[in-house]
């Protein structure tokens, strides 16, 4: 939000001196209308619905034990899947853009797969693999391990759907930047780690941060795949989005929208974190020594 408003403020200052044609005015007006209808109106409704019975009701809805446990599970799944996908995404983008090898295009296609596969199918894949009729069922039962309809399944499903975000942000940028700066670093005596830390990483840091932001937002909001593997056990395997659905299906509209406000607030915090990190990282990351 703050990015958008900052950009708009800057643009309007620039545009003030420019002659506006009627066509431009119509297009600007249309953009605002669409922005209002598609983004602002739903946000407004979520907030007013959640708060319609007052702050006490809102607070009760988000502080009851089931909601707290859903929040914890969402944070856990996000906290595990984002760092893993960060490491994976950087490694995959590095490998795909800095080296030539057989099967490279196949790998790029595979990285994209979670985007093209429906999240429900993704969830089903894990049920078929780890469920009670699944491929690994005998092994899991023998060792008394529960993956599907338990926390590990939710984490796995979240990792799967957020798999491509970081890599997808990095690959086009790293491809465009090429490898000459890395070669220059090698020629100047940098070892592999120094080259990565001092040259490659600073060059992609904004894309990386953006990828992590998208990945985090998606991990917190993921519904489909998690829904399939969760089993919807209240207080045990419910994440925030699943909790909202259950409340909504029980006609507990106010509570559903209250928890939705919570989820929305978390998304806003992530966006603000990104803004904050932009200004900080630009100073620190470059000068850091090993």
């Amino acid at each position: 939000m703050s990015i958008a408003s900052a950009t708009l403020a800057k643009d309007s200052a620039v545009r003030a001196s420019v002659q506006r044609t009627p066509a431009a005015l119509i297009l600007i007006g249309l953009a605002w209308i669409i922005f209002a209808v598609v983004l602002l109106l739903p946000l407004y409704i979520v907030v007013t619905q959640g708060l319609q019975r007052g702050l006490d009701v809102f607070w009760n809805a988000i502080s009851e034990p089931d909601a707290i446990s859903a929040l914890k599970l969402t944070l856990l799944a996000t906290g595990i899947s984002v760092p893993l996908n960060l490491v994976f995404g950087v490694a995959a983008a590095w490998c795909v853009t800095k080296f030539e090898f057989r099967g490279k295009s196949l790998l790029i296609t595979l990285i994209d797969m979670p985007f093209s596969v429906s999240p429900v199918v993704a969830g089903l894949i894990y049920v078929l693999l780890f469920g009670s009729q699944g491929v690994f069922a005998p092994f899991l039962q023998a060792h008394d391990l529960q993956i599907v309809y338990a926390v590990p399944g939710i984490v796995l499903a979240t990792i799967f759907v957020t798999f491509p975000f970081v890599a997808r942000e990095l690959i086009p940028l790293m491809e465009e930047q090429g490898t000459t700066e890395e070669e220059a670093a090698r020629l100047l005596g940098a070892n592999g780690w120094q080259m990565f830390w001092h040259v490659t990483l600073p060059n992609v840091k904004w894309a990386l941060i953006y990828g992590v932001v998208l990945c985090t937002a998606r991990a917190m909001g993921e519904f489909g795949a998690v829904s399939v593997v969760s089993g919807h056990i209240r207080g045990m395997t419910n994440t925030l989005p699943l909790h909202i659905e259950i409340l909504y299906n029980e006609y507990n509209i106010v509570a559903a929208f209250s928890v939705a406000i919570l989820l929305l607030a978390m998304a806003l915090v992530i966006l603000l974190l990104r803004q904050w990190s932009e200004s900080r990282l630009s100073r620190s990351l470059v000068r850091d020594d090993e």
Partner: protein, 333 residues
């Protein structure tokens, strides 16, 4: 430090970029690898640096076979065509990079690094740009920073890939002379790649003319110009005219080695004037000879007697003063 290149072959897929390259570069020499794009000159430079691995052959620095040495251990300075400055670092940090990457035990203190960096920036006359970022610099400035960065680790060998290729003509001329002077001062063994024969002639001690993955000729600028080993070298080192004498017999000569006359003269051939171009100190006359489509160009001093009042369509008589003989040498006739 001398460089010995022995029997280098390199394929990229089915394309053979280098065929059996042998080359000896003496210590302290400034050598140009000259050739059209795709001739393998850049691949050869990258192989010397260790950025590419040859299929066969070896690279020897001062008697030591470095073929299996990693890029980091060859201690060569390399200047990339598009400079490859680290875009997120200031000019100072770019130049300091090589020193800061040294293992802890060999790494100089920050104050030593700072004085070294300023010394180098003074050498390339850009000390006042230390706090700028690469994107704030002009092409010529970037080029000199890239050079300072390469020199920071005190390499024994300096390799430059099309060092002036991306610069405009005037800056290029200045930098060329500057590089030749710098080479006198720091006295490194230097190899640079170029497709510009004028650049090679002006800067290099010796020129290696390459074509389609092989070395066509190695020699001083005067040698390759006066005694080209092949028609390719002759063509590549300057403009040339082809005069068809018979079905399978032709003469090659340079536009400035033509004698012109308004009246029929001994051994001169008649031709029709198609175009007259004053180019400053010289004037270029384009001539059409009977029996060949290819036009002949002659370049003479702008006050040459034959030019007075000359108009298109007139008949002019010309004679090549020096031609390339089939044996290879340029013969003055």
């Amino acid at each position: 430090m001398s460089i010995e290149i022995r029997g280098i072959n390199k394929h990229f897929g089915n394309f053979q970029a280098l065929k059996n390259i042998d080359l000896h570069i003496r210590s302290g020499e400034l050598v140009a690898l000259l050739g059209p794009s795709g001739c393998g000159k850049t691949s050869l430079l990258r192989i010397i640096a260790g950025l590419e691995t040859p299929d066969t052959g070896s690279i020897v620095f001062h008697g030591e076979d470095v073929s299996s040495h990693d890029v980091r251990d060859r201690n060569v300075g390399f200047v990339f065509q598009h400079y490859a400055l680290f875009r997120h670092m200031t000019v100072f940090d770019n130049v300091a990079f090589g020193l800061r990457m040294k293992p802890k035990k060999q790494r100089p203190s920050e104050s030593v690094i700072a004085s070294k960096v300023h010394e180098l920036l003074n050498l390339v006359q850009l000390d006042w740009l230390a706090d700028r970022y690469p994107e704030q610099l002009s092409g010529g400035q970037r080029q000199r920073i890239a050079l300072a960065r390469a020199l920071a680790v005190e390499p024994k060998i300096l390799l430059l890939d099309e060092p002036f290729g991306a610069l405009d003509a005037k800056v290029r001329k200045e930098l060329r002379r500057w590089l030749a002077r710098l080479h006198e001062e720091v006295h490194l063994t230097s190899v640079f790649v170029t497709h510009d024969q004028e650049e090679a002639m002006e800067v290099a001690d010796r020129i290696v003319v390459m074509n389609k993955g092989v070395i066509e000729q190695i020699g001083t600028p005067a040698e390759v110009y006066e005694k080209p080993a092949s028609e390719f070298v002759y063509h590549f080192l300057g403009d040339s005219n082809r005069l068809q004498l018979a079905e399978d017999n032709h003469l090659l000569f340079r536009p400035h080695e033509v004698s012109l006359s308004r009246s029929a003269a001994d051994e001169h051939r008649a031709a029709q004037v198609r175009d007259i171009r004053p180019l400053g100190a010289i004037t270029r006359v384009t001539l059409q000879v009977d029996g060949q489509d290819e036009l002949i160009e002659a370049e003479v001093a702008k006050d040459h007697g034959s030019l007075a009042g000359l108009v298109r369509g007139e008949t002019l008589y010309f004679k090549p003063k020096a031609v390339l003989t089939p044996s290879g040498a340029v013969q003055h006739v």
